[in-house]
Symmetry: C2
Subunit: 325 residues, 2 copies
Amino acid sequence: MKTFALAFVSAALIGALHATDPLPSWRDTAPKQAIVSFVEKVTKEGSADFVPVPERIATFDNDGTLWSEQPAYFQFFFVVDRVKALAPQHPEWKEQEPFASLLKGDMKGALAGGEKGLVAMLAATHSGMTTDDFEKEVGDWIATAKHPKSGKLFTAMVYQPMLELLAYLRANGFKTFIVSGGGIEFMRPWVEKTYGIPPEQVVGSSGGLKYEMRDGKPVLLKTPELVHNDDKDGKPVGIQRHIGRRPIAAFGNSDGDFQMLEWTTSGKGARLGMIVHHTDAEREVAYDRESHIGKLDKGLDAAKTKGWTLISMKDDWSAIYPPAP
Amino acid sequence: MKTFALAFVSAALIGALHATDPLPSWRDTAPKQAIVSFVEKVTKEGSADFVPVPERIATFDNDGTLWSEQPAYFQFFFVVDRVKALAPQHPEWKEQEPFASLLKGDMKGALAGGEKGLVAMLAATHSGMTTDDFEKEVGDWIATAKHPKSGKLFTAMVYQPMLELLAYLRANGFKTFIVSGGGIEFMRPWVEKTYGIPPEQVVGSSGGLKYEMRDGKPVLLKTPELVHNDDKDGKPVGIQRHIGRRPIAAFGNSDGDFQMLEWTTSGKGARLGMIVHHTDAEREVAYDRESHIGKLDKGLDAAKTKGWTLISMKDDWSAIYPPAP
């Protein structure tokens, strides 16, 4: 009887502990310990490291940090699908690079023109429409488009441990922001539902906007120029412009996040800088120094001296993607 | 005894009603009724006009809407004080306009150069330093500088009814934003304490920022170019860039707010557009169509057809400024 009661109590306790673990997909290794210890420190009133709620700002890169980014940034798949959808209205594209290659399914050829070709594709698919129309295009696409390799919806390729981390930080009074090189208007239509991050907490690369009247109603027209490139040096600039306060925690995965991590962790008081290291060839993709996308080289060397914690996807995460619905 | 009890109950009831009036400095006239009716409509679950909390975005102009703006934008007094403070490091200013006039106390002369002179003064006082240093300069100034006519701190010249309105909207699930032609970095150091609006909810005119290393530490250097002019057409653009969602309520006072009001109130569903009309020569300043600052002309004509409510400071507000502490 006594043994039974003890066993019952233990099971209940273990159940309770498990139920209250806010980070169940994080293995009990250094990164999880770093997160929990940081959060406990900054939220403990009276402690030397206490940070008032309004200053609890955490910033997250998106591609490769909150969702996958291989074999190409997911926004690029949107570009491809939009070029195909728009092709009937642009017969000239059949003879015009990079569109001709892209329409023939030759991605290598489409990307051969380098930045110039990419800018042409971005301009063709991301400008000339109103912000309302673009929002609808992105919303329709993200609801149905599938990743070419996994066959999953792109929004099913977000990282479960990062979803838990976002929720855990918010439960502890943090405001969570995305600070991504991706297009700000490309992210806003779906990140609220996917990550719980509202549009006003999204910082990203931004094109031009023009206010004008159409049929007596005002619209905001998307224009092709690049107004802000939210990558590398552009990340602290974007943070200052949108948030106006230095984050106390930042999460990235590539050298494009270096300056955001540097800016965040060089502030006074307790700071947390973390890098998602893509080490899991089996469950995701393994890449770092040599990758054409999400290259992590300088950051990998600097992590130790800068006090940034590397998160090994293979070793520190028990799950990568959310369970299928 | 009965009469006494009744009187007691009535007094208690009146007290309770008064205590729960969230807008005590608003007279019981059309603007207050418009505000309360709008808020009740959009917050009533199940009603056709119900708006979910995340979409309850309200935007406020600052100069002339949340605080006074006469005889010059308060940011201009900051410019004047900074030019004086910096003059010893710039002996050449003694012979160089607009600085020479300004240092002699000749404001008319200082402004005679028009926009070019203004840009020179802004560049001299708003760039060349780090964001941290500028924040400190503004913070120190706003804590001590006094308005030349009223002798009050500038932050004591905010409008009490608007403070109540901000709090009332927030208590009803609204997120309140400033959308001002004023400098974004000039507002952020003090608006949180003054209006309860955090830095990340401030949209304003923005200069350049450059990320660089100084003595091994990263800084953000303010550079002189104007990156965003948050006035007129620039207001809907700034709203889209920062907030990414169309407000459902907007408050302004001048033709510089016209497009913000137009953009806000032309959206679907219940919308609220209001204009603070400076009608009170006794308690503040009376001005509209002919004013050199905060000119309200086009907006005054359009209010009726656009369904915007005019707030007469003289008739609709029982108090202008907060009581002296």
